[in-house]
Symmetry: C3
Subunit: 462 residues, 3 copies
């Protein structure tokens, strides 16, 4: 019956109920089935069944969905005592964010006669926006309460939708796989939030901020699902036909090359010539991030491989040299190393996208130029202008992310949100009923209740 | 060389061989490729390749398949010493059930000139029927032998097919995602079976009827796959086009809202304001169950969210208050709490379906009314009659499930099936070769053989 | 700062960098987008978007992709101290192999005007070839360095492409699911390699060559993904329409029947009438292997079930009686028992394919004969000749695999590749930074660093 600030008995139910009721009211007021999900609208016209966008995009949507819930969720289970929170809070904030994102993205770029239309494309976009929130979650993992995370998600989704609107609608940028809108935005937003939430005494929980043997295997489940389905992620909302096909192919090669350079760099930089699971779990994915913008373009297979190859190298070097520097000098405590997986590879992807866009020609794209660069195809702008807008988009994204992260970080410092004390970070038992494991003398597993939470909470609760 | 009733050396091989040989003979006599899988038939007509139903339904089938084998299998691995049996018996009875279901469902509503036609739709339907058996398995988990489970599956599949025939063919009910046919049926059938198999001395195994840290993470794999792919489950056999699309969308929103209310209720009701993994693993899925009947209808996104929201609340309350009551007062030992995940949300889904059906109008559905309510569209019946038939279907399902469970439970009490003694419930080593885990002084893992089975079996075997 | 041959600090980076740079150069010179991924080419003609092969094959590709990275990767995590290497080396050699396979397969049967064309079909074929390498990896699991594996992959992919060219292009054999090209080839190649790498003193590591409780559950993740997605594997590159549909259906039934006979045989042969996880994890998959060649043919559902049923029996018997014999008498140390899962069932599948092909008639296949047996349909050959060519193909495959394995095995014996000493086999810490697990007296998990590698490496390094 402890009554500390981390007790969620009243706070979490109130937060969840209020948020969900607001969501339901707004959905009731604003959201409608789109043309392809509405029984009346769809049957009003004649067409083949397979023209329904469902058949073009639903398999990709499901792959993205797996990346969001299993991929991100299990990737973060590497912490020895934070598996419940990693996968559980990931689940909670994703379930909230996808609903809120439907509204925010609809509001900024999906209104039709005062109504937000929903279908498989809005589902994919909502999952994408959710991905951005989960990236930021990686930076603050282990140091935040579920309420802080929900509040962060609420603001971040809103800012995501604004930034996405500026990039795609105002600047006319292309970013199908979200190197900028998802990865760069999520990473720098999260890094700024964790900077504001800096904990000088986090070393009190240091012994828990690492993995154990089985937790690293759970994390590999997350890694592999992200890796395997990244081609679906980058191609999920590109144009039908060659575009989806080509994007998946480019991403596939980028990831394969990235894996090779990741293993090479890991052995080169890690202790004693051995491979480091942290690198494998994270850096091998950088090739997907870096192919996020240019993946739909005529990047060529070997171009994709070069991008992935570089992304892997940058990412491992970041884990080895930059993360300790950021922590010690800049006071940025980045639990999952999102700067290495999403930050730098996202910026790389944005640059590759800008360069590739500026080189686009009718000779190479033919009639497909309309799909990839509609403004260039219609002669509204030329390719080099498209490239410049891509570069401007990167700058805008960094600005919105950092400024947004600053403000949201300050909001999250309000004590009412129930942040864990320094000594109880990276510890599930603050927020979860946790069974323990014990091997008694008979070699038979029995359960012990870990009652250390009292210990952890009472003396150190601010 | 113990020779107790739980020894499977001869019983299991005989059972499996006889069942499979019967299956092969019946398949050889009765089963044919359908029009879309038969080389001659398909090539006899001209059509586009993509008109083959394979392309409409196979991705959904695979998602359903993952739910059946990974979803159900791993959801039940939460027990600390029953992981092999959870995922292994799940595997066995699912592999049997999907074959037997093909025959039973074909017999009751898929005969064409004396032959059962098979293709992707029959595969989905067989997996659905299997899901129902696995729900019942959740109630008796840890307390039954594999032979009992196979016998239960044989009868339950048969009764499932009969009930499904009554509902869909005789009463004209709609139940694409199976709130009634799958969830309500599987739950109440399983609850009655476990009631009949009541063990007054089950507390002898109480120390094993709980989770350990890693087993809860394995269970979350099951939970998340069920959650992510439930939109595919509910939409797998709805009509092509807007129907599949809309059903997936409705289920997606229902689940998201359900997750929010589950977390809220878990913190509200669990010990000390902490979240309880049992709720997260199970109640967050109730939104999928509750959208099983109305998911294909014009439920609207916010309507789906309300349904999911309520389902989550009911389900957590069930775990907190109803499950202990059922166990103590009604002698229903429901290992996985299927009443909370499938029973009550299934009934809720049936009611929502009946109400939504009775409100259907041509104004809302347009030409799509033909897909969702063909009898209403053809003016054979009106919407309120359709709604009544939905309600009658729920009653029929409850009746068939409870009566069927009673009879099958009595059959399963026959001692020949090798049920485990009370003190050896929730224990893998009764039926499996189990390696142990030990950490010796060097911090190196070594293997110890757990030889407690002798202990467990010899003195208590009836 | 040990400087033994197993130190990967310089060797692995050099190997990976050189291989990847060669790949990039060759891709830059030789590889082009195919018609369906190239923006200009695709838009040069008019067609429906859904005619793009992406929509026919990408969902199957993703299923195959999951089998390669999660399926094979986790299937091999059953070893108690080799989980990082199982899933991590699987990841590395798969990422390399799929790039190399694209070149080799393109070179032998995909050149168009001096260029290799890539798209979803080449992606699937590359994953298939990778699967063959991973099968061989199973035989040498725990006894090889990552560099040995990369070298093996390089040669094996090349030989695979040659053998595939002989079978499919020269002999006109049909083998859509690769009973011969993938499974038989990978198995006998791997068995010969492990024969050449025979270690007489491997019992020094015997205590690590087994599973622990949780590692068996991780392995079941691999098993189930392989099992569930095998219908996609076998149907991934069959012809559009009824062929893909029928192949998936046949494989589904074959696997279900195989699971039944596996459980039966496991209980019959294992210690004390209990089930053995090794059988369940492996033999239950033999039905997919055995349906690899005949799956696309008019094998009939019950024919598929008979094939799966036999495959399960053979496979369990192999684990029980043949594997110990191979190890003791023939000095073939087959860590995963690939002979039982891929070798014998692959040969069975080849024979079933030959028989089924020789029985093909226009009466049964109708116009579909063109898809399955184009040479028979065009009267170039008759069905019995097709059957003979299938049988010849099996013999060729065995020859190429065994001879290739012999040569590659000898190459792998070069000491420069950094093979682990006998006492350090099946041990992650040779190549990985490994955290340990310890339960201290408070029931709280803490981390211990396992520094046994020095111990392992220094005295025994050759």
């Amino acid at each position: 019956m402890t009554d500390t600030s981390t007790n969620m008995r009243t706070k979490l139910p109130i937060t969840c109920f209020i948020l969900e009721i607001i969501l339901i009211i707004l959905f009731g007021t604003l959201v409608q089935y789109d043309y392809e999900t509405d029984a009346r609208a769809w049957h009003n016209k004649t067409h083949f069944d397979f023209e329904n966008d469902f058949y073009y995009r639903y398999p990709s949507f499901q792959d993205v969905h797996v990346m969001i819930f299993i991929g991100f969720g299990f990737l973060m289970t590497f912490l020895q005592r934070y598996g419940f929170s990693s996968v559980g809070f990931n689940f909670l904030i994703a379930a909230f964010s996808l609903q809120w994102a439907t509204l925010m993205q609809g509001f900024f770029h999906g209104m039709h006669g005062g109504k937000i239309h929903v279908g498989v494309e809005s589902m994919i976009n909502a999952d994408f926006c959710t991905g951005s929130v989960l990236i930021s979650f990686g930076a603050v993992l282990g140091k935040t309460s579920p309420i802080q995370l929900l509040v962060m998600a609420m603001f971040e989704v809103t800012l995501f939708a604004i930034n996405e609107f500026i990039l795609l609608s105002l600047l006319g940028a292309r970013d199908a796989g979200g190197s900028m809108t998802i990865h760069t935005f999520g990473a720098y937003f999260g890094l700024m939030v964790t900077r504001i939430l800096y904990r000088p005494n986090l070393d009190k929980s240091k012994h828990r901020n690492c993995s154990v043997y089985h937790s690293d295997l759970f994390a590999m489940i997350g890694t592999l699902y992200l890796w395997m389905f990244w081609p679906s992620f980058n191609s999920a909302i590109t144009a039908h036909g060659d575009d989806q096909h080509r994007t998946a192919l480019n991403t596939y090669y980028s990831l394969a090359a990235c894996t090779m350079s990741t293993y090479a760099m890991s052995a080169l930089t890690a202790h004693d010539g051995k491979l480091d699971m942290v690198h494998i779990q994270n850096a091998a994915l950088a090739g997907g991030v870096a192919a996020g913008t240019a993946g739909e373009m005529m990047l060529t297979p070997y171009g994709s491989m070069i991008v992935g190859f570089l992304a892997g190298i940058i990412s491992v070097l970041g884990f080895k040299y930059l993360t300790p520097f950021l922590e010690e000098k800049l006071k940025i405590q980045d639990t999952c190393g999102i700067h290495n997986l999403h930050g730098m590879p996202g910026v790389l992807g944005a640059i590759v996208g800008a360069v590739t866009a500026s080189l686009a020609t009718v000779e190479v794209y033919g009639g497909g130029l309309r799909d990839v660069f509609p403004d260039v195809a219609s002669n509204k702008i030329d390719a080099s202008y498209q490239g410049s807008m891509q570069a401007v988009s990167l700058a805008v994204t960094l600005g919105v992310a950092l400024l947004g992260g600053l403000i949201v970080g300050l909001i999250l410092k309000l004590p009412v949100f129930g942040t864990p004390p320094d000594a109880a970070c990276f510890e599930d038992s603050v927020y979860w009923e946790v069974p323990g494991e014990d091997l008694n003398h008979d070699g038979q597993l029995t359960v012990v209740r870990i009652d250390e939470t009292e210990k952890l909470n009472s003396p150190m609760a601010q």
